[in-house]
Symmetry: D3
Subunit: 280 residues, 6 copies
């Protein structure tokens, strides 16, 4: 299948049936993000969410040095919202800032809203926006040499594209979160694994990517109804009480477990065959 | 004390004063649950919650192979809600499904609602419903050979009896949760300990059970007022903001710390005796 | 700078520019807290919150044996709320208790409400109130010999000054929390690190304190606007849904990222100089 | 159809197809509630909720003088929870009280949880528990001579069976609610209509009951799928944000609007016939 | 100013400076909505939200007979989501339904998300979607002959585009809401005023529209910073606790009340002139 | 009893046993509030909350012309937060603004936090802060000539001391709220009554005040335990789901209904005497 996903800074490929791979591709700038890029990644994931040929997505980056160095600060200061507020009063600057942040958040949040699971493979420098983006992913794995940082305080900002919001909801111990967010210090893959930011470490980028694609293939081989529901209910539950979570999954399954996928799964289990599920 | 808790698939015993032990007993089917069982376990814990002779509960399973293989799918497909929906439109099937899930959830949630702490001892195969049930327990320990899995996607379903709701609220890192819930892969006792699903591992089932009973005895030796309040406030706080949690414990203790247990505890502390608390 | 923070049981010093150090000072009683102390610590942190010469706070305790043995039970039983309720009906005792708990909580919560990050350095005996207090801190580190316990059930009480509320919101695995809160057992620094209650262990109190001051100096060297916002947004996010968190940080930064600190940071980054930020 | 709902203090009849009428029947005591009664009414509504022959319920009371004078205080003080606490400490009395209130609330809440709409017809004295119960109903109408009161403060209590919780959520102006709840004053049908506690007033009990049955018949003539969903979604929305409400109704209708009732409704609309819907 | 808002079914005009008027224009079908229309109205309000020449919006409809008869059911059944689900299992139909509802809701919610106040002028038949849409408006006024209905149960559906969610949050008494939503009965302008669905009634459509434009002009004459903030904070407060609401407005105004509009307003007040505010 | 409540701008008197009356006293400035005043009113209500000789409070204002014209804008612009921000960047101005708003809110919120019911008597001009303050009261009554306005947009601000937060939670129809908050128009006592902002209107200030004192006396004659609980539970319920509200009142009454006030009330009821309750 030839990809129709053509974006200047992204390579979108399909390494396995039902598996999409999104590669951030600006390695000469350590995959730092300019405005075209953060708008683009939102569009890609919005499309993947509705693409019936996709059941799982791998998110990776080109080059050896960096998953992403974060926001391209030079680009942002030249063309972005902070340039040229001359003559505006503070409220009007606030308005421009708020609209800018809202738009930026909305685009990055498409990674989380994508109805298919997303596996992020981090390597090398993974600073600032690298975390904002991958905290929207469902599963994070990394290379042993990955270097993480919540870098925003070093440019005078509280991180506002999601890191400060999603780290506490990813069930990472708060003392660790505060430590890295307040100091902007670099932390290692090993630390990230210990606190649960990533759930596996591999020796090389190639190996990590290979394992991610393999895991994506496994997920894509399962009932798309069950997979979508599992992602949705876990994300809903994260933000609601146990009681609300139980009610939501009850109504959800009232809609979604009356499906041929159940009998297809059971039959395949008995017959030791690989089930083929209808498109969703 | 002879137990009056007589259930076909459960042995309820009292290995220590104020300690109840609930043993799931269908080892020939790997303790897989049929409808009689999931209704029964709810009834048992509802009774234990109000039994003044019980101050802590241990939940275990008979046999060497499995804590539980989960739902007895064969039984469910023969007699359960998914059989025989011929002629009903999708909304009416949804209604049957929702009522079924609600009833199932309500029964399993009795383990969580039980006002006495529950210690679950997992061993062997611990799949699907095994997690739904034990995530309702307060403390989980296991044997080193325990094999866990969130199995539901393999039968075409998003898990709906509580696993997807309670795992995120048990403060387990989300990346790990998504990994195991989306792949249905088996994970080990060691992994479960690393992420905090269990808080201890023991070499054998006998040792784990012995330790659980010992811990239950310790808990049962303490003020039942303090123990009940501690469980209640922790569960409330899990689902509410810090501010709401602080207010709740303030009102709770306005009701519950005007008790002889405080002076009994202090006196026993000074006299180095073991306090005896009135029934609650 | 000579401190104007004069309190009977606390030494407040300024070991580095913009760094305050609060030392609990009642070592002969293992830093157990009487009413003067828990009121005092609230006043101190309320003042630090508004002190423009302070950008980060270290919380430590005098002596080798204990960060704090918790509430001074003897003092509380002689003068406190539980003494002398003769003749009052239960509702009026409840009223006294609730007002007492509210006042106590409000004072300890000043540590959390302080708009500057707080780093707690735990050592030796760290029981009961030691946890209530340090769970209000942002970062917790400790000495390898620290002994922790949620002790309240041993005096017949559910802990009501914040431990039961803040432990679940600190993203510590629930099974571990229930284990230590229901048994009141002592747990080690190593356990505390494994579950994330502390984010680092050091061999000696001197080393831990030195590292804490160093970390505080690092935090204090950064933009005070960015640091305050980071703390605020992380605490807000802990208690709200992802969507609410994203909206809050968007409005927050509409107010706070129109600041010279951003350009000061960027300029310093380019010029490899140390930025100097205006007071906040 | 002969009713199988046989209860000492209630007459359950079926005045129209799919319409049940529950009449509280203790007129000689002004329909004051003893324990048998508040347990009974919960059982009745739990059964009606699952009764496929019922699509709408009318709640009324026997006699001319009172819908209900509220709790039968004499009965409660003789046999109830407040009698005979001698020798128990305050915490243990609190435990008895809490269990009693929880059980009482759970029973009355069955009126709200009933999946079929409930129309309450109030007349005469409607004090205390009369409001707790009817605030669980969906629609309230009354006779012009009805006299309402939130009476609980006059017996030294904050109302705890639901009035203080449900009045603010029924969208009644808070100033009015506080006025009547803090003074226990009697208020008229006209006042109740003006603030929205009732949505219609009729001259006589006979007329009000007749109108209620007519309205129930109308509701019962509509798609039971649509009616159940409408009640459920309105109650859910009352307690959640607009965003949560929109998501819930979306998932709900994903389950429930794939139904023959839609085509049956449309066809009947075109053919000007009365649709007949399958049982739910 | 010539409008660049060109839409097949809508006339967008600018009757006053800073005032936009959106007229639904399909009078020959009683302004019933087809898919082109509900998508169009969302696009219009999204644009108005960011249009610096607009400070207030009036929403009205062409013709004398109807504001809107609601969804064009014929069109929906021919081309919409419910047509042609042959061969899909219930889960896949559910998926189509949920995506359809989500998209529909998102479009209509643009009326609420519009950062400028929206005044809806209802007249004639105002059924179903007419309420979904106008409950997104800030202010509702109507003509004395307006006939309202929550019509959805009559086509076998629980209303899912917002009426069931927003009516309870519009602070309309629940008993009235349930009455009209469960019976689908027509209710009058007078009833709508009495319960607060509309805040004014006028004798003719011309008069109502004239008054709406006048009110819009008044609102548009005020500080756009103050007006936007007032709408935002009221909508936020509706969905959050008082404490959260207070915190939100505090941060909001930290961003937005450092504005020349304050001094412009004060100066104009003193000089008795009409203030001119900068664009926002 | 001679009052010990001595404040420059307030007269605090005790017109009846257990009834306090707070009179705002700056009639020559139409009771507009300067900083001394808004700090003072917070201190007064904080003291009243803990004063065992007070069971109900009446809030009124001196003079015939105004309850309050709102914030004294002249005073605020001379000495307040908006004066003299020269040289500060926008973030530092935001910080000053936020601290100012927080302090202002905290002071006014003492009226709501007061554990005794507060009855506000509005007359004449009641603009801006007059509403912020009286929306913290429990019961609002007014004189027929009272003129209300949410005035803040006219000085370029979204109201930030509570009006925009508490009006929606006071269960006032949103369409009306938006109308008056976005236009700043004056509305009448009659309108205020129709939507429920006030619950009664009287012809003269003297009559309204007399009725308020009478109502306060009635409330003060009842069990202080029951009255405090009723206020607390109603305020809690306003901000939480029905389920949370039910649980809260259950725990609250576990603490507070084990009281002699119940038997004192019942005995007085039987003996037709006026009960005398112990101090709380």
């Amino acid at each position: 299948m030839a990809s129709t996903y053509n974006y200047e800074y992204f390579n979108v490929t399909f390494p396995r049936e039902y598996v999409a791979q999104v590669e951030i591709n600006r390695p000469q700038k350590m995959n730092a993000f300019n405005e075209t890029m953060w708008k683009g990644i939102g569009q890609i994931f919005e499309r993947l969410s509705h693409d019936q040929d996709v059941r799982c997505v791998v998110l990776t980056s080109a080059g050896d040095r960096a998953f992403s160095a974060g926001l391209d600060v030079q680009s942002a200061s030249e063309t972005g919202v902070l340039s040229g507020n001359d003559g505006l009063d503070a409220a009007r600057v606030a308005q421009r800032l708020r609209h800018h942040i809202d738009e930026f958040q909305a685009s990055i949040s498409q990674i989380e809203k994508c109805e298919k699971p997303v596996i992020a493979v981090l390597h090398g420098v993974s600073f600032g926006l690298a975390l904002d983006m991958t905290l929207c992913a469902d599963i994070r794995i990394c290379v042993s040499t990955t270097r993480f940082a919540v870098k925003e305080v070093d440019i005078g900002l509280a991180a506002d594209i999601g890191t400060l919001t999603r780290l506490p909801k990813a069930n990472i111990p708060m003392s660790f979160i505060k430590d890295v967010a307040l100091t902007a210090r670099i932390f290692s893959a090993k630390e990230a694994l210990a606190v649960g930011i990533v759930s596996a470490i591999y020796d090389t980028k190639a190996e990590a990517l290979s394992k991610a694609v393999e895991k994506a293939e496994l997920i894509a081989s399962k009932s798309p109804v069950a997979i979508m529901g599992t992602k949705e209910v876990l994300n809903f539950s994260r933000d609601h009480s146990v009681q609300d979570g139980l009610r939501y999954v009850s109504v959800w399954n009232a809609a979604y477990c009356n499906t041929a996928d159940v009998t297809d799964s059971l039959t395949a289990g008995i017959q030791k065959t690989k089930p083929r599920y209808a498109k969703l």
